[in-house]
Symmetry: C2
Subunit: 636 residues, 2 copies
Amino acid sequence: MRNYSPVNFTNVRMQGDFWRERLDTVLNRTIESQHAKLVEMGMIESLECTQPPPPLRIARRNDGFTTQIFWDSDIGKWIEAASYALGHGKNERIEAQIDEITDLYAKVQLPDGYLNTWYIGREIDKRWTNLRDNHELYNAGHLLEGAIAYFQATGKRKLLDVMEKYVDHIAATFGTGPGQKRGYPGHEEIELALVKLYYVTKAQKHLDLVVYFINQRGAQPHYFDEEAIARGDDPKKYWAGTYEYSQAHIPVREQTKVVGHAVRAFYLYTAMADIAAEINDPALKKACELLWDDVMSKRMYVTAGFGPSAHNEGFTTDYDLPNDTAYAETCATVAMVFWAQRMLNLDLDGKYGDALELGLFNSGLSGLSLEGTHYFYENKLESDGTHQRWAWHNCPCCTMNVSRLVASIGGYFYSTGKDLIAVHLYGGTSATIDLGGKKVVLTEKSDFPWSGKVDISIDPEQSSEFTLKLRIPAWADGTKVAVNGTAIDIATNTDKGYLAIKRTWAKGDSVTMDLPMQVRRLYAHPKVRMDVGRVALSRGPLVYCVEQTDNPGALVSELKLPRTAEIHVEERKELLGGIKVLTANAIALTEGDWGGDTLYRTAPPTEKPASMTAIPYYIWNNRGPSRMQVWINEQQ
Amino acid sequence: MRNYSPVNFTNVRMQGDFWRERLDTVLNRTIESQHAKLVEMGMIESLECTQPPPPLRIARRNDGFTTQIFWDSDIGKWIEAASYALGHGKNERIEAQIDEITDLYAKVQLPDGYLNTWYIGREIDKRWTNLRDNHELYNAGHLLEGAIAYFQATGKRKLLDVMEKYVDHIAATFGTGPGQKRGYPGHEEIELALVKLYYVTKAQKHLDLVVYFINQRGAQPHYFDEEAIARGDDPKKYWAGTYEYSQAHIPVREQTKVVGHAVRAFYLYTAMADIAAEINDPALKKACELLWDDVMSKRMYVTAGFGPSAHNEGFTTDYDLPNDTAYAETCATVAMVFWAQRMLNLDLDGKYGDALELGLFNSGLSGLSLEGTHYFYENKLESDGTHQRWAWHNCPCCTMNVSRLVASIGGYFYSTGKDLIAVHLYGGTSATIDLGGKKVVLTEKSDFPWSGKVDISIDPEQSSEFTLKLRIPAWADGTKVAVNGTAIDIATNTDKGYLAIKRTWAKGDSVTMDLPMQVRRLYAHPKVRMDVGRVALSRGPLVYCVEQTDNPGALVSELKLPRTAEIHVEERKELLGGIKVLTANAIALTEGDWGGDTLYRTAPPTEKPASMTAIPYYIWNNRGPSRMQVWINEQQ
């Protein structure tokens, strides 16, 4: 059993400007535009499984490799995002679109329950022969998440029934029983989806299947070896070289280093944290904690991006965090947000809330353009001006990951425990919280993240004693909190980053928070060789960057920020929908006296004064191609 | 006709320690070990063209892609290097090895002259159907160079006859005549080889074939398009995306930007410079000059590495010179040396000599390990310790490029013109130079590059008037030169980097040079974003780097060199065969107070004094895996 449970987004009304605007963009534009892309790219059509399959339409040149093998997952993820949209208000068009997809899936599902449109449409005799590479269980997981979300939004069961039948087929196929395959996903995902199915159905069998997948992973003899041999392949010729790629190199409870494909890793850890809570497994919990501390202390970008390498879409070595070649897939940050939320179900520790917030406001949100129809797959921390958001992608995984995240953003704000409400995030919300059968309305008023002032009103249906836990962000040194005007002593009442206020709460009670929003200069560990001599700027949860558009005086790479320079916060209502920028008097290298013919010379570059303007990282590349840098050269 | 002609390496005896040692290593170890690799990898065996072809042996995991398609070129290059070894002294074993290869080639050559073991062994019906990708003409070029070198070393004609028959077949196949294909190489190389064949045979037809290849390149309708259509391929689906990849996007005389695959580019430019001289083509010469200035002013690493990107093994955008991901293939630097030499045949301009020297002493020589049996394919300027030389490579092009370069190193020291001897390089040599039929023995005594003092003795067979031109390196500010003890005024007698001394030279005449060897701090153009805030150190022609092995106090990436720090030159006779290192009092970031759990913090890293030692770049990675950095963080 979880110690803490998140409050569902349907119970959290977003009212503050910041997330409300992002949410409205997703609801009014992104969801529909994504469906249009599914149609345009032939992804809906492919569900008909016509023979022969229609030719692949691709978002860019991509020689020979088809991405259709994981299209089911993208459709599942769109259904999930669209269902979350329905959680904000009825929309018949979206329902009709999902119902149409549901009918297509119901039609092609095999009598035994199997449902994967790639294999059904092309090579059904090869199903379940390559779990390592071919994404069948991953696809099933995303479709299942979509079916659950649609059921929860509308009460319609048809897609959920289809998927439960498929899950029963999967449970019959895989396991440790006689005649069952000892397989598990090459791309983890279904594990966390099955936990959701368990919460919806309360059927123990679904939890058992997750536990099987978790326990079997990395066991010897290795299933991916055996499966390869059965296909007639040489397991030693595995294209990725190592099962670390899918975190299947050793059993999960023995894993202490975050390795391989970042999204795979974080989806797995999310389910591990779920299971650690549900079956009370201390070894699994310990593994999650070790993995968390490993990645956060040595392998995370300052923007909460993860996975430096395009080669394996994932992790390399400690402190290897290149900025311009950063992969930092949007999906990886979204997946970390999931994982952080599950860790908060186990322990109220501010480090999870801090990372969750950092991901949301930086490398997660940067995945979506301001107008809501363009996407970063890679969230680089430095660009020569060629890196831009895509209108679509051959592998459109990130597009729907960011839309489903934003569409359900309210679900990350609050948890409940026994006689306890925890507040993880700040903004403008109105939440109706069920605390052990008693209703509490909690309202946040704030201009967060632009301001750190947060007014919280607590309105229990009837007065009752419970603990309100407020996350004090690690960045908010000097936070002040008062209850009904009386200051609370933060130091003595805070444990692991959460301030506890235990009292009998009554209608009209209010808490005021003042989270200091000073600009912070961030330095990376000296071992991060790319960031030596550089500084990053942040304010509140937002990491900033210098974009060329705002800095006409010199290339952003030619700017140097003196260590002692005062940094000003300026509100720019007209800019990018209204943001706060950071400005400073900086120094710029001079090109004028260098000459275009000289590449190297013995005299150092001359310098000139230059003004520097930084904008929040998440909002860069919304004004056309432009150079960008998060880590700014510092003049010591 | 060339204005200046290089003095062949067989007339230049290497006596100085520096090159003599490298040469002895190549002659005594590298050449034989390379032949052993050809045997071990099945490359010699493959010349038998057995059916079916033997399985591929690979130097590392490389899924499915075979490199056999360009093995002929590697064999040709080995023959060339081995023949150069024969130029230093008879070696029956090497001769037997080359004779064996010759017999194999003679045996499989088709009656019409065609000779490519890949196509003959596998799919002869497909020959000449994919010049764009499949290296047939490139292979022919390298085999031809090998045949010429072997003929010159031994007088044995058999391989040369085989290759001339093949060249005649090629000339019959390609051209603008009726029934001829309008093709040209996808990987340039044969052009420069055919120029060599012209010099050996004086047969105009060989020069005509080069001119045809040069003129046809990039012409419309595009041959690579037509060829693809003839194969049933869609030319728009070209995997490289653009014919810039092979410099075939526009006719060569219209090219002003160095683009695409770096080795292809420089081999082409080498032949263009050859042809510009031979047929006196000012447009071609102008194109060479524009391309030279383009690459040298915007796209060259400070080590004379070229081509930042592994993606196209070549060029990207101006000032894009990443250090840790630098491709900077050894072959590209070697090819630049060829090109520079050909430019010196057109004009005695120090910029060509400077680049030639820079390439030889840095990104070229770094390709070969000190013991002579390991090779860099990529000459990165920064390494996290994982980058190491290979014992071999699936594409072993660089291995024999560096051995043939070192084996013929003497050939880059001198040129002759009308009544003129030009000295491009300094070291310990004894050259016997034919100056219009008169013999001049020119001897250099120097500990170059460790010392800038060079004593040159000029011993003409009989006294005669001619001009001695001495290259004054751009790095040698304040050079002093004296003839028989009398100082020469450098400023008034130097044109484009060459000091001219015209006099009647007699036996016993001597020139003394003093090239200042102060340590130079080098700064990159401000637009090179990777090098902002960094400094590189050089002394004479050598660029230095900090290798971790010599800097135990801190990671090399944590070192900062104060701008005002005095840099000391220290001789280390015991180190790496005897080198001069650079040392300085520097600053190091402290890890101690940071803690392993913290990745980012608001306090800048604390610092401590640290000694810094730099070694010549060419000699790094000769003591096992180690971090390395050319561009050092500078404390301003």
